[in-house]
């Protein structure tokens, strides 16, 4: 390492840090592309959700295994980057949903190896464990928070495959960079310090809560409100923006206060999402900003508390990664059936409300009957789980020229969107509960401190 010039070292550090950020971002990067994947592979909501779940599940399991095994950080990083690079190319070229999920599993395995070993690698590049851990923590937070935004922009500008196309070269460059680097020597394994386990538990619960902000909020604005991916990405970008904005504040707070305050902000932001009083991008962005502020305060402190370099750099990094992704997987497993059930009820309420709007609409019966029949046909044609386009029958009936038809169309769409938005309430509520629960292990963190 000492032979590297500072500039060259900076470039190598940036290359490795970027690949780590991408591996963290991959937990949520395809969320905004889910509707595209749903259409491309003609699958079910549960089927398409495995594109996200499979990655996080494999990262959690493989990172836990890496924590138990004794692995060489340098070799693990290289193998991880090779797997990640190849699997990203495979995801980009996937011909079926099963193929995509299989490549996502391989990508998750590569990511787990990379994330677990990158702590020692970044420590070597930055010259000390503390500086390496600080950079690792920063890119971990940014990667997770920026994932949906990056995915949304790439999906709308190009295609869902672009999300994976850009990842392969990032991993390839990092792979080349690691050839000139050396990982810090791993410490002999010791018992982890007091409080590290509590930090793992709190970190897992915070990331379980993040499912609400990173996944549910994105699904709401894209699939129910019909925003384009870039517009959705703009709304969601309030989250990483707030995460960055509160970082100076986090440095002024004691760790327990930062974690407790962050968890409360995250819970309040999720509660605000659960209690939306209308369809409003501004309210979602505001609620996500509070979630982002909570993440910016709690996650860096928890990650620092979870990372215990004295007990082994790779082991420590692997445990932290496993805790984060286990939280995501746990929440995905609980939230998916809850959301499916509540959306079924919401769909029924939406139909009743929509029928009321049509019956009471102040439009002539010669227009009302064809509109009602066309709406029935649209319902029949819509694939299960997809919100049909109900604007078209009104537009065909002259919504552009008739204010009454236009008003009926807008009332119907608002009624449907409102009912379906309400259907997200239990899932957001569960995510808020996870955020509040994270305070419990954080209290143990305080005692340990």
């Amino acid at each position: 390492m000492s032979g590297l010039l500072p500039d060259r070292r900076t470039v190598l550090t940036a290359a490795v840090a970027t690949s780590v950020a991408v591996a963290f971002a991959d937990s949520s990067i395809v969320v905004l592309a889910l509707p595209d994947l749903y259409g491309a592979f003609d699958t079910t909501i549960v089927g398409v959700s495995w594109v996200i779940t499979s990655y996080n599940l494999v990262v959690a399991v493989a990172a836990a295994a890496a924590a138990l095994a004794r692995i060489d950080a340098y070799r693990a990083a290289q193998v991880g980057l090779v797997l990640f690079c190849a699997a990203s190319a495979g995801c980009a070229a996937a011909w079926s949903l099963a193929g995509l999920i299989a490549f996502r599993c391989v990508q998750g395995l590569g990511a787990a190896l990379l994330l677990a070993s990158s702590l020692a690698l970044l420590g070597g590049l930055r010259g000390s464990r503390a500086r390496g851990a600080a950079l690792w923590t920063t890119v971990a937070v940014l990667g997770a928070a920026l994932g949906p935004v990056l995915g949304g922009v790439l999906t709308q500008l190009f295609d869902w495959r672009a999300i994976f196309v850009v990842q392969a070269p990032v991993a390839a460059v990092a792979l080349l960079a690691t050839r000139g680097a050396h990982a810090l020597a791993d410490e002999p394994r010791r018992r982890r310090r007091r409080g590290a386990l509590a930090a793992d538990a709190a970190l897992g619960l915070v990331f379980a809560a993040l499912v609400g902000a990173l996944f549910l909020a994105v699904l709401l604005v894209i699939t129910v409100w019909g925003l384009q991916p870039i517009t959705g990405a703009l709304v969601v970008s309030a989250l990483p923006a707030a995460t960055l904005a509160v970082r100076p504040l986090g440095r002024d707070l004691s760790p327990p206060v930062a974690v407790g305050g962050g968890a409360l902000l995250l819970a309040a932001g999720l509660a605000a999402l659960a209690l939306l009083p209308r369809v409003s991008n501004a309210l979602v962005a505001l609620a996500l900003a509070f979630c982002g502020a909570g993440i910016g305060l709690a996650v860096p402190v928890l990650t620092r508390s979870s990372l215990d370099a004295e007990s082994g750099l790779v082991r420590s990094g692997a445990i932290t990664v496993a805790a984060r992704h286990a939280g995501l997987v746990l929440a995905l497993a609980l939230v998916a059936p809850l959301l499916t059930g509540s959306l079924d009820d919401a769909g029924r309420r939406a139909l009743l409300g929509g029928t009321k709007e049509i019956l009471d609409a102040n439009i002539p019966i010669r227009k009302k009957v064809p509109i009602a029949l066309a709406l029935r046909d649209a319902l029949e044609r819509a694939p299960r789980g997809e919100v049909p386009d109900l604007r078209q029958p009104f537009d065909d009936a002259g919504a552009r020229s008739s204010s009454h038809v236009r008003e009926a169309r807008d009332d119907l769409v608002t009624t449907l969107e409102s009912a379906l938005t309400r259907g997200f309430r239990p899932a957001f509520g569960l995510a808020a509960l996870f955020a509040l629960l994270s305070i419990v292990p954080a209290i143990r963190l305080r005692r340990a401190a």
């Binding site: 504040l249 902000l265 605000a272 029928t355 259907g423």
Partner: protein, 137 residues
């Protein structure tokens, strides 16, 4: 610490504001009671009279079947995926006829013009309704 307190207060304020501007009832369709409420349709002219007449008839039928007019309508749309028709044909016929008679009574009570329109609709709609119910039986 003070900045954190301000942030937390702002987050709680957002939730309180949401609750105060209707978060509790948001997304819940306000379905009318078919036994007591009049149709909310506000259109005028002959078209308006016909629609109000039909909607009152639907209300009457739904009231008789102890359901809402929306559920009654959707129960005939298989794609809606709501409860399928859960009444036998004779019950539906009786409910529709009862609804129709309630619609005539309601229309006739709206002054002399309503009396005339109610009688007219009885003649115009009544016979085809009987015919349709008999034919589809």
């Amino acid at each position: 610490m003070r900045r954190l307190a301000v942030l937390l207060a702002a987050a709680v304020a957002l939730v309180v504001v949401e609750l105060s501007v209707g978060a509790i009832g948001f997304g819940k369709p306000k379905l009318a009671n078919p036994c007591t409420d009049k149709p909310a349709f506000s259109g005028g002219g002959l078209d308006g009279e016909v629609q109000r007449f039909v909607l009152t008839g639907l209300n009457g039928a739904a009231c008789r079947l102890h359901t809402t007019r929306e559920e009654l309508v959707l129960s005939f749309v298989p794609a809606a995926g709501t409860k399928r028709v859960r009444w036998d044909r004779a019950t539906i016929d009786a409910a529709l006829r009862a609804g129709f008679h309630r619609a005539i009574e309601d229309t006739e009570q709206r002054g002399p013009a309503g009396y005339v329109i109610g009688h007219l609709l009885d003649v115009i709609v009544g016979a085809p309704l009987d015919f349709l119910l008999d034919v589809t039986r």
